[in-house]
């Protein structure tokens, strides 16, 4: 997954400036930067979530497996969003049962056979480390779950459609510390099968979970390197100042 010279605008406002990056497969890449730096916009490039905003305009290329995902002749956006799942800051389960939440995606993608569906749901819940906690109440409302469980449910819902990439936009910022660590642990397990990109304003979280870190400031990718390098000896002075808390 990569971007080539991406500029992104909301109307006259340029939010991303000439970003070229290669996101390593089966690794966790963290994107850090101060509020409003463009990191969430950057994340949403990969599932074309920015398209729905009025006045949005993209220059440059965003490639997945070498295919330009903004080439409407080559790409079906619904299919793209199945391949590139997303987990948001606030857990957003649908107001339906736990089972139906996870089964929602497979159903709309045409996996109707009940036996098959059960297997998919169980599998996804297991992968999201939630199965043991919910296996006896699959038909209870998802809204009864705790915040941390709801977030893992959203991850399970995302996994149920067998994505290749998972985008996470501040997935733990609304969670308590233990739920946060559980999500982080889960990410380590998931990276075996998926490519994960996480946007976070929590630098300690980025340091704990990611293999690579990119620092975005005012729409520019200032530095992108293995996480140990970024947090131990960043090359760029701006990166150093940001992660040591000298500005924000």
């Amino acid at each position: 997954m990569e971007t080539q010279n991406v500029n992104f605008y909301y109307g006259d406002n340029q939010v991303l400036k000439n970003i070229t990056i290669k996101i390593p497969a089966n690794r966790i890449t963290a994107i850090i930067g101060p509020s409003g730096c463009g990191k969430s916009t950057f994340l949403r490039l990969f599932n074309r979530m920015n398209d729905i905003l009025e006045g949005a305009r993209l220059e440059g290329k965003v490639l997945i497996d070498g295919v330009d995902i903004y080439d409407d002749k080559a790409i079906d956006v619904a299919m793209l969003r199945r391949r590139v799942g997303m987990v948001f800051q606030r857990p957003n389960p649908f107001p339906m049962s736990i089972f139906d939440n996870v089964a929602y995606g497979p159903r709309i993608h045409g996996l109707h056979k009940k036996k098959n569906l059960k297997e998919i749901v169980e599998n996804a819940l297991r992968q999201a480390a939630l199965w043991d906690e919910v296996k006896d109440k699959l038909y209870n409302s998802a809204m009864e779950l705790s915040g941390g469980q709801q977030q893992r449910l959203c991850i399970a819902r995302c996994l149920a459609v067998e994505p290749e990439v998972i985008l996470m936009d501040e997935p733990a910022s609304a969670l308590d510390p233990i739920s946060t660590l559980r999500i982080e642990e889960l990410m380590q397990e998931l990276k075996e099968k998926y490519t994960i990109v996480i946007v976070t304003h929590n630098m300690q979280e980025a340091a704990r979970v990611s293999d690579y870190t990119g620092f975005i400031y005012r729409g520019e990718l200032i530095e992108f390197a293995p996480t140990v390098d970024i947090f131990e000896h960043p090359q760029n002075k701006l990166t150093e100042e940001y992660i040591t808390g000298r500005f924000g």
């Binding site: 630098m203 300690q204 340091a207 970024i230 947090f231 131990e232 000896h233 960043p234 990166t239 150093e240 992660i243 040591t244 808390g245 000298r246 500005f247 924000g248």
Partner: protein
Amino acid sequence: MEIRRSFETQLQSLKENLMEMGQFVRRMLQKAMQALVEQDIPLAQEVISDDDVADAMDINIETKCIRLIALQQPMAGDLRVIGTVIKVIADLERVGDYSVDIAKTAIRLAGEKYFKPLELISKMANIVDDMIGKALTAFLEKDLQLAQEVCNEDDEIDHIYKNLFDELLDYMRKDPNLIYQATYFLFVARYLERCADHIVNVAERVNYMVTGQLLQLAPSHRSTAEE
């Protein structure tokens, strides 16, 4: 705009504490050498009791470092400063210990007339003293060139140590009555040589603190001593 003023202050005080400790053990070594050369027992005893102070400084600074890591989650340059301080105080503490060893030797030999003036040993001690001063300044001023100079000086220490070793062995062979004194002189030379190695470690840590690279700046510094 300074966002982390309180953290910055604590980091600054950590550096000052390290400088104090560095100057303190440097003074211990100077006093130990003076006690040896001038056969001054009270001065030697002072060095021995100084060791408790050096140990307390070591523990105090390490505690501060651990606390800063736990409470402030330092990153990048800040993290490297703290990591450097933790390592450097251990090296300085060892220099304090060797000063005590030299002071104890001074007490043992206080009643004897030296069979030769302590020229080469004093020369070694002066170089080590110079190395400590430079290493501390290098730390304070992030001076990589000075750190490298410290490492270069270690070669001279190793060279003198080897000559001294040969010379003292020669004396012992020729006159077994000198073995007692000569062996102690050899010990002192060895203590000084070890001090120099610890100061090389300090200089290498300064290099790490500034560049993030952990390098052996004086690759030769082990060879002569360990052989």
